[in-house]
């Protein structure tokens, strides 16, 4: 059955337009509903961390926002404009490939397994998007990339291929690569989960710096509860495809209201 799209605005207007808005978003894999009628706003410059047990749909939220997954119903807006849909004859219709490419330009993502291009050096990885997608000159792209590699502390490894770098180093290059596209929204999908414990700090420190020095809007999925509590403006606890509870980190970690949140947090604490 086709969803009635008429009640979704073609564009968000007004004084408080959020940077990201999920509006009645549902995602299903066959009979399994991964996300059920999700409504979530992220304001500009906000750092929102999504926590929850595995299978709660938290990674799917980021993947839908990166347009790596299609959605079954609802609309996602970025910076006031629809991302998953495009206006046509006064109503929203599913976005075509061309529209998607334009709409997702303001979003950057870092992955659990880095996904660096193995046939390019660290610097070439960072320059690839600016040169090939944004059309920057090589010189401009190099300057921008070297600046970012400097920021993530990888400038002295800029001519190494990913196979020569540790996991933590690869992830830092991946962050620089995503930032080189000057996104408005950055997504961090379990960026420390594939790392050895001793190098997690070098990646979280980079993200800390981003939060304190830049006005980026960020969504993060992580299992590092302490880190999430330190740097987030808001924590969303997902359970069974829904937001079970959300709030400022101190409130959610210090005084959770819902039983499932309490159970999850105490289970995580025990595991630590």
């Amino acid at each position: 059955m086709m969803e009635d799209m008429s009640h979704y605005p073609l564009e968000l207007t007004g004084p408080d337009v959020p940077m990201v808005r999920f509006m009645n978003v549902t995602k299903r894999y066959g009979a399994l509903t991964v996300l059920d009628d999700l409504n979530l706003d992220v304001t500009e410059g906000e750092m929102v961390t999504i926590i929850g047990p595995s299978g709660s749909g938290k990674t799917t939220v980021l993947r839908m926002l990166m347009t790596l997954e299609t959605i079954n119903s609802g609309v996602i807006y970025v910076d006031g404009k629809p991302l998953t849909h495009m206006p046509k004859n006064g109503v929203l219709v599913p976005a075509d490939a061309k529209y998607l490419r334009r709409a997702r330009a303001s979003i950057g993502m870092c992955f659990q397994h880095f996904n660096l291009f193995p046939h390019m050096t660290a610097l070439e990885n960072c320059m690839e998007g600016p040169v090939q997608v944004l059309g920057l000159s090589k010189r401009e792209a190099r300057e921008r990339s070297e600046e970012l590699l400097e920021m993530v502390g990888m400038i002295d490894k800029k001519d190494q291929h990913p196979s020569r770098l540790s996991g933590g180093q690869q992830q830092r290059v991946a962050i620089a690569r995503a930032l080189a596209m000057r996104p408005k929204v950055m997504l961090f999908d379990e960026v420390t989960s594939a790392l050895d414990p001793e190098v997690i700090g070098e990646v979280t420190n980079v993200i800390r710096r981003l939060v304190s020095e830049h006005n980026l809007t960020m969504l993060m999925v992580t299992h590092q509860m302490g880190f999430a509590r330190d740097i987030s403006d808001r924590i969303c606890f997902f359970f069974g495809g829904r937001i079970e509870e959300q709030g400022p980190p101190d409130a959610l970690f210090g005084n959770p209201q819902r039983d499932r949140t309490k159970q999850f947090l105490s289970a995580v604490k025990e595991a630590d």
Binding site: M66, F111, N115, F117, T121, G129, Q132, H161, S163, A178
Partner: protein, 221 residues
Amino acid sequence: MQWNWEFTYEIMPRMLWATLNTLMAAGVGYAIAVVLGLALALAQRTPYRGLTLVVREVVEFIRSTPLVLQIFFVYYVGPQYGLNLSPWVAGMIAIGLHYASYLSEVYRGGIESVPKGQWEACIALNMTPVKTYFRVIIPQALPPSVAGMGNYLVGIFKDTPMLSVIGVAELMHAANAIGGQHYRYLEPYTIVGVVFLMISLPSAGLIRAFEAWVRRKLGMR
């Protein structure tokens, strides 16, 4: 029957000349196959299901029917409809198309071996599908394809004797002609075998070395 060295020396220049033609046939046929094979592989990866199915079936058809029959088909069907192809042109089309279908499978395997995360990274960097293929996917699909590509280069070389059936003047054609003229088959056919052996024997090692070189060149170890 004795091996006749004098006869061997006499026919050697002609056999060596024909060897050059054999190498040229293999080279030209392979060049066609490399490019056309990529087109066949990419055509199976478009969003159009119908195109994928048709190309798959065509590749399957070419792969499972004899090359020698395809050579005859291409050479003789043209004139029936007023299109005359020289033996060389018909032969290159047939052998190029035949090996394109093999190479398309090699490429397909190579492309499928590229991890899903690489595609996702390209989406996250907002790259176009064309740039995604040519800048990220194909360079990574290449190293695992090199061995298969090399084997089919040797394969196309060993299949060139079939071109003699429509009169392409390669080694086998020369051997047949010499045999017919002098009623001596031992020397020409043996020379053909030796030439093939001399070229194919070192090829396995060369392919391995080349594969390692490609990996090094792309910084992938």
